[in-house]
């Protein structure tokens, strides 16, 4: 097997890896916002349930969670899980990362001094204006470094999709390495993750620079 055929057969896996990555971000980042609001709800019962959710998401292996999301419907409700593999992966990743993002957002929100809300209120801003014009931009600035960490972790975590026998890039690398008795696929995989994270770091740095005009 030549290097180019190897790359070609891994190419599709790379696309799947990218799909997991982007779909997870697209769902988990807004979902994390909702979880954060629930975590800060004025109703104690809502707060407590959300806390338990976050504790489970952070306290158990993502691999186990993926298995639970995929096989759960079958074992619990006897539902057919054919064709459900990819959705299960996205749900599992999104629910897990939403918990982490929620805690990051919460840290960012709670770091905003009360005085910012009070100044906005006395100046007559309504609550929507206060959140989007005054609070959110400051929150984004403070949480960017933590978000970067999380996104980089996600790039590497995508390989966990192999748990559900989904042929993302890393699974393919293992198969090809076994069948060809070659270490090359792993080198390619490593380079792929490295480049992906290099791009992530580059993009995030640009965004951080954008917010650098004040401290």
């Amino acid at each position: 097997m030549t290097l180019s055929t190897m790359l070609a057969s891994m190419g599709e896996g790379m696309l799947r890896t990218c799909a997991i990555f982007f779909l997870t971000l697209i769902f988990s980042m807004p979902l994390g916002m909702i979880v954060m609001f629930l975590r800060r709800s004025r109703f104690r019962i809502v707060r407590e349930i959300t806390k338990i959710y976050i504790a489970i998401m952070r306290g158990t292996p993502l691999m186990l969670q993926l298995l639970a999301w995929y096989f759960g419907p079958y074992y619990l409700f006897g539902m057919s899980i054919r064709g459900y593999r990819f959705p299960a992966i996205i749900i599992g990743f999104a629910m897990n990362y939403a918990a982490y993002f929620a805690e990051i957002y919460r840290g960012g929100i709670e770091a905003i001094p009360q005085g910012q809300y009070e100044a906005a209120e006395v100046l007559g801003y309504n609550s929507v204006q206060t959140f989007f014009k005054i609070i959110l931009p400051q929150v984004i600035k403070t949480i960017l470094p933590s978000v970067t960490n999380e996104v980089i972790t996600l790039v590497k975590d995508t390989s966990l999709a192999f748990t559900l026998a989904y042929n993302e890039m890393f699974s393919l690398a293992k198969q090809i390495a076994a069948s060809q008795t070659s270490f090359m696929p792993f080198v390619i995989a490593g380079i792929f993750y490295f480049i992906a994270n290099y791009v992530v770091a580059f993009v995030m740095e640009r965004i951080e620079k954008h917010y650098d005009y004040y401290k």
């Binding site: 007559g124 801003y125 400051q138």
Partner: protein, 252 residues
Amino acid sequence: MILQMNGIKKSFGSNEVLKDISLQVDSGEVVSIIGPSGSGKSTLLRCATFLETIDSGEIIYMDKQAVTTGTNGQAVYVGKNELAQVKRYFGLVFQQFNLFPHYSVLKNIMDAPIHVQKRLKEEVHQEAMELLRKMDLEARADAYPCQLSGGQQQRVAIARALALKPEILFFDEPTSALDPELTGEVLKVIRQLAEEKMTMVVVTHEMPFARAVSNRVIFMDKGFIVEQGDPEEVFGNPQQERTKQFLKNYQR
């Protein structure tokens, strides 16, 4: 009459912080509030600006009743829209400035007039520059708060409050967070506003300033107004024992 607060009571849990306080402020008047720490001065301003809700009493701005108390003794606030109308009458300058760090000086001043009062950008810009000239900060219009000294930040905060053209401006210890050498520039601005007959209520520990600038001084202690009157009277010839005690600590 710009502001009438009658029979204001406010507790935090079992801690009764304002015990039947009444405060009237006439147009053009400058009222200083002095008193020991924890006597309820900030709470009074925060109740006047609706940052805290009172337990009972009434608050009237410019003949508009904002809070009433019925026979059951519970304060009732007017609806959201009416309250928003009343809020246009006052501004508040905080001890900690509370400027928006992500907005430039100019945007800090212009944003609320444009997006809250929906006024024209050109007109607001012109007025903002005028205010900055008055605060001697023209050159810093494009700076960010973190690039300014505390005294400059507080002057921007005053300009930001004035840009909404309030009828009355409250100050909660506007110089307490400043290094001593920077208090002068802020007090000078407030004095200038007093000369222009801006109606103001200033909580302060700057006794010479309160004596020189205000028309009336209020001494508060433990949630009561202990004594009030002409500054020369209160400072020169205090009637109450507690006032004398308090003022003695401020004489060097």
